[in-house]
Symmetry: none
Subunit: 264 residues, 2 copies
DNA sequence: ATACATTTGTACGTATGTATT
DNA sequence: GAATACATACGTACAAATGTA
């Protein structure tokens, strides 16, 4: 795929039709590297070098298109990947801005967060971020064993240990069964206690699933992670004594601050 | 195949009458939800429901565009997000395919790679990379419960399922106890069988520790991972029936091909 | 080995919606 | 309300990769 070849490639236009008042900067057409990629890399380099500081506004798309001598869509494609990587943020009507990096990068001494989290699911004190009643997506419905579209309650939380953010995530409950669970949780910070107020005093972990990936923008913010760090994504299903799914949740753990320990 | 002619076709609003010769399925224009999102969710639901099985080829973009009554670009945008989420994979000239779900890899007291892979209906394969007798480092010594400097045998391996690399790693054994274990392993490709030739027919997992990070260069090579992908690093201690440490190992799993599963 | 059809990928062009200033 | 700027959507053309006759 990296074999460079010739190929004029002029899609739909003669190259010299461009006005002389603007120099088509940087990008090399037919170089084997797509224009949007070259543009993305150029802009990223400008941000990384400090030439564009956090908070600074980028030139508008039309202007960038002119600068690189490409169509606005080509610029948008480049901006899109930078946006996904959390380097910039665009708002309709305002503009596109270089994002501030997360403020703190707490030390990454690998705490053995351990059995507590995985084995029992009884997580230590958490911080309530918010909650919402929503229609169950296909995924949530499958995990909770209900029909898609069923009303479910989502609770978003983070967890810290000694002030260091450890994890963030969401848990879903069948709303009909867990009316106002979020209020109690917000007050107590303990899921176990919140559930007990609903008369659910016993439930057990049915399954825990683990995978990992690079932290996305939201996770970087909540967990104060630098770009390119990894999170472990933990999915869990809790069932009541009858074996009926009670909650399904997905949390992201800052991989370089935690070591999950599993004992059979 | 003749083209449907619906006049000037003003983009955006005017959810007016379209030609009846093609039924514009599902998507609701001007509903506040963008078309590409509706299409992405529809396709995702079809995959999740099993209507489109792993390995199956999706209709070509033009066909999907016709089905939903949108432009090919709108379909591409939808496919793009599904691709980023790892649900599908597109190759120029071939088509777009539903990806295999990650291999479920149970972590328990007696899980053996070959059994796990076989249970999922795939063909397991352990590859012997090499072995070496070395002096136990502080870490290895601690984990194996011996004095630092003790002779230990290191075996490097990779594992694949149906030819897809799953993990790579090293395992350490007390050399005095595991003379020529590497030779048998290299011949059989099975650790379980290799140990049985030494009279060790039963052992169990004492502990598993988990963390994650971005794959390094060696891992990228062994696991065919692109830059920036994550690995889950699994450290494990196996003990014999007497509870004496038998092996300590550290393996890196391709995070997007494996889902580690823990059941209580 | 070559030519061709198929299918995804890149790029440009145009129009309009929608949020912000 | 008007101007600005990003967001969505349609349309067209060709390049590049793949598979096949």
């Amino acid at each position: 795929m990296d074999e460079v070849d010739h190929g004029p490639m002029t899609a739909g236009e003669t190259a010299d039709a461009r006005s002389e008042s603007v120099k088509p900067e940087d990008v090399k057409r037919g170089s084997g590297v797509s224009l949007w990629k070259q543009i993305a890399e150029t802009l990223e380099a400008e941000i990384a070098s400090g030439a564009r500081k956090p908070g600074a506004r980028l030139p508008v798309e039309a202007e960038l298109a002119e600068r690189f001598g490409v169509n606005r869509h080509t610029v948008r494609r480049a901006l899109s990947v930078l946006g996904e990587r959390g380097l910039i943020e665009a708002t309709a009507g305002r503009g596109t801005f270089v994002k501030e990096p997360p403020l703190r990068y707490p030390i990454g001494a690998r705490t053995r967060f351990s059995e507590i989290v995985l084995a029992s699911g009884r997580e230590p004190h958490g911080r309530f971020l918010g909650s919402q009643v929503e229609d169950a997506s296909v995924e949530v419905a499958r995990e909770l064993g209900v029909a898609p579209g069923t009303k479910v309650l989502r609770i978003d939380t983070t967890h810290e240990a000694d002030g260091v953010p450890i994890s963030c995530g969401s848990a879903w409950f069948v709303h009909a069964r867990c009316q106002d669970l979020d209020l109690v949780y917000a007050a107590t910070g303990s899921l176990t206690r919140a559930l007990s107020t609903l008369g659910i005093i016993d439930f057990r972990r049915k399954e825990t699933r683990l995978t990992a990936r690079v932290a996305d923008e939201r996770e970087r913010g909540l967990l104060s992670l630098a770009m390119g760090r990894s999170v472990m994504v933990v999915e869990r299903v809790d069932v009541d004594v009858a074996g009926v799914p009670l909650q399904w949740g997905r949390s992201s753990f800052a991989a370089d601050r935690v070591q999950l320990v599993i004992k059979p």
